[in-house]
Amino acid sequence: MERLELELPSARSAAAGGAPVVVGVVASGNLEVLVERGGTPDRCRFEVSTSVHGFGAVWRAVLEDFAARRAVAGLAFSVNDAGATPAVVTLRLEQAAEEFLGAER
């Protein structure tokens, strides 16, 4: 397993509080994303654990784009990955953010 931890700037997320949310499953070519409160008011935190080695730069690029696109500061994303493609990673992150922030409204 390869581990990756990142803190990235992002716009402030909509609301505070909220129960943790998990989206996706750990299955070949898929991943699970756990969203909780965490990080600082202007940054979001990512913890990735992946079964595929050597793609740190790709993860960083995917997460940077996500953090820049969505207002997710103050959130922590934990990922268990079993070889998902960037497309699937992006989709799960979006779904997770939506579910977490949507659930707060």
Binding site: F55, V58, T85, A87, V88
Partner: protein, 552 residues
Amino acid sequence: MSTERGRVWDGARRDRRERLERARAVAPERWVEAGRVTALLEAILRPGDRVCLEGDNQKQADALARALARADPARVHDLHLLASVLALPEHVELFERGIARRLDFSFSGPQGLRLAQLVAARRIEIGAIHTYLELYARYFVDLTPRVALVAALEADAEGNLYTGPNTEETPTLVEATAFKDGLVVAQVDRRVERVPRVDVPAGWVDFLTVAPTPSAIEPLFTRDPAMIGEIQILMAMMVVKGIYAEYGVRSLNHGIGFDSAAIELVLPTYAAELGLAGRICEHWAVNPHPTLIPAVESGFVRSVHAFGSELGMEAYVAARPDVFFTGRDGSLRSNRALAQTAGLYACDLFIGSTLQIDLAGNSSTATTSRITGFGGAPNMGSDARGRRHATEAWLRAGREGPPGPGAMPRGRKLVVQLLETFREHMEPAFVERLDAWTVAEKLGWALPPVMIYGDDVTHVVTEEGIANLLLCRTEEERADAIRGVAGYTPVGLSRSRRAVENLRDRGIVRRPADLGIDPRAATRDLLAARSVKDLVRWSGGLYDPPARFRRW
């Protein structure tokens, strides 16, 4: 009669008579017992002969292939084998045993690995790897077979052949051989009193044999909807909204794969919601894909002409003669040569997947370890320069493309490459240099094996969006547009954000959001059928899937 000023004008005919004479000792009748077929082939073949061994996508002259592979290499050797699809181990055995030496073919599929090994060991000389239409064409020009070994479903006592739903290329092969004084040997599954329809007349066939086991047919064009993922559905939505609706694509061909199956399955849902029924996807050159059933049933599909059939679709096709081409007996009439022609000349769009694509849009399925060949995609995935009839889609594509000499108005075929940026195991699909170059260098070929040439490709669709290459005016723009949809592959990551934003403004790169598509809406709920059983239900119980696709 035969000579004029000493020159022989009917050498092939005389040769044919000699061969038939030799055969008489082995096979006094047209019908030959299975156990005597090898002896027959030894009698009618001469070393170095060009022999066409029928091997289609579905149907294989497998009994004849086995019989030939058992021939005595001292009598039968150095044959020049012609075959569309090299699928059977026996095909490769012919070369391993020295029975055949040279090969002209189109597609090798499961034997790709052994083929590559034989080429490396110099046990096989490859003339060329063709596209289907190209190979058929050469049968009538410089590769006319001396002997054709073909497969049919049934024959009557006289020798009339019935090919059933998988006619595929039998008429083409027999035509090329029989009318140039060649010999035609046919294997059939059954000898019957009366064939339901005559696909090849008895007069064009010399010998017949009943195959010990029916010719095996694989369900190659069946895709289980259960295996379609969200990303494929997202891409399907983009294709429907950003290309089919945009251009008004009425006639088309779909390559086989889960990507295109996803498109077929969102027609009755997503496309219908967009009000596209009756406006897109009416006429198809395509095999009867089971995943097409919901689109047929919901009124999208008006006609289908097929290269070959598909296992389990027999009763469904027979019950929908207004849609499918069928014989009087009710079974599908397929014809690969004609369906390929239809796909090339009469379809506005081809869409298919690939393994690798470069920054010029050239795509290839070649890898360094196997020789797989082409099949039919290049014929349909190329602009038909001989086309003259106009349709809305064709004209619009032509208008978008760069102007030709003298600004002459002209249409273009839409050729769409549909692929995820990464394949399995995080293999990038976008590359600076195709593996095809390495293959060509290694094997000393003049041409890298390219499936679809970049200058024929009009759109590249990935989960990142659509790149419209028609609108690009320079090589750099094309490369930037392709990088723009190449995602997080090394090729994609090296893009200039500004260049891509610029292309987005011009509509050359379109993201899902630009098309009004929310990726989170791409769920399996959009599939008109989520399982094979759903397909059976759509068909009213007419579709009869093979056991391996059932969960009941």
